[in-house]
């Protein structure tokens, strides 16, 4: 049996990599993928805790996270299409109307 802390450490590493991608990538689609990576890391932590505590509520949470991720991906990619159409670019640096 693998210690649960290993899973949690892996989850933290994946989440950190997701944050790195979110901060450093310039392509808006890749930034969305970094968000998905973070959600996946959180899911791993949920399942690991569910296993550690012998309860299934954690897995139910994972389903709801997946549903919300699907909704977020659908709406987010709609926004991406809109941005690409209006700005002719996927670079977030060019979406700067609100920037001082």
């Amino acid at each position: 049996m693998v210690p649960i802390s290993y899973y949690l450490a892996l989850s933290a590493v994946l989440f950190g990599l997701g944050v790195l991608g979110f901060v450093f990538k310039r392509n808006i689609i890749t930034i969305f993928m970094a968000i998905e990576l973070m959600l996946n890391a959180v899911n791993l932590a949920f399942v690991a805790f569910s296993r550690a505590l012998g309860q299934l509520q954690g897995q139910v949470f994972v389903f709801f996270v997946i549903v919300v991720a699907a909704a977020e991906a659908a709406v987010g990619l709609g926004i991406v299409i809109l941005i690409a159409r209006n700005r002719q670019s996927l670079n977030v640096e060019r979406v700067n109307l609100l920037k001082l």
């Binding site: 892996l10 950190g16 991608g21 699907a70």
Partner: protein
């Protein structure tokens, strides 16, 4: 012992693919890396005795959501990411802060989780899960269908061309 070996292999694959997601400059390569991460995570769920979550992970995440991503990348004909100068604040503060977050997360999580020992999983876990999801949590479950419907309509409205 076998489980530990499997865990290490799957974890290495997941981390390597996640690093590749960040380092690739073309979005389609990032998307394929993300698929590898998700499949590795599904393997980890199997190791954690969460068979149903593993199946859902493959079908919904690696299947539906990633197809959506790849479809949009192709629709927009997204090319290689262009390099831009990082702002000075991001350059000097970003990397240390991200490293701090990573280390802090790993430290807290490992320390907090040390006393937890794995309980035996119930034999019919998937059945119990369905009981939980469709009986005890039936109302939140139905609410998610409304959420999906709203997201669907929203995506259509957003992506629709103005006449």
């Amino acid at each position: 012992m076998t489980q530990l070996a499997l865990f290490l292999v799957l974890a290495a694959i997941a981390v390597a693919a996640a690093v590749s997601l960040i380092l690739q400059r073309h979005p389609i390569h990032s998307a394929l890396s993300l698929v590898v991460v998700m499949v590795a995570l599904a393997g980890l769920y199997l190791l954690l005795d969460a068979e149903f979550v593993a199946a859902v992970q493959i079908i919904v995440y690696a299947g539906a959501i990633m197809v959506l991503f790849v479809f949009v990348i192709m629709l927009l004909n997204a090319g290689t990411e262009e390099r831009t100068n990082l702002s000075r604040a991001a350059h000097y503060a970003g990397i240390p802060l991200a490293a701090l977050l990573l280390v802090g997360l790993a430290y807290t999580v490992t320390r907090a989780a040390t006393p937890i020992v794995a309980q035996p999983t119930p034999k019919d876990a998937t059945r119990q899960l369905s009981m939980l999801l469709f009986r005890d949590l039936a109302f939140p479950f139905e609410l998610t269908s409304v959420l999906i419907l709203i997201a669907m309509v929203g995506a259509l409205v957003l992506a629709k061309r103005d006449e």
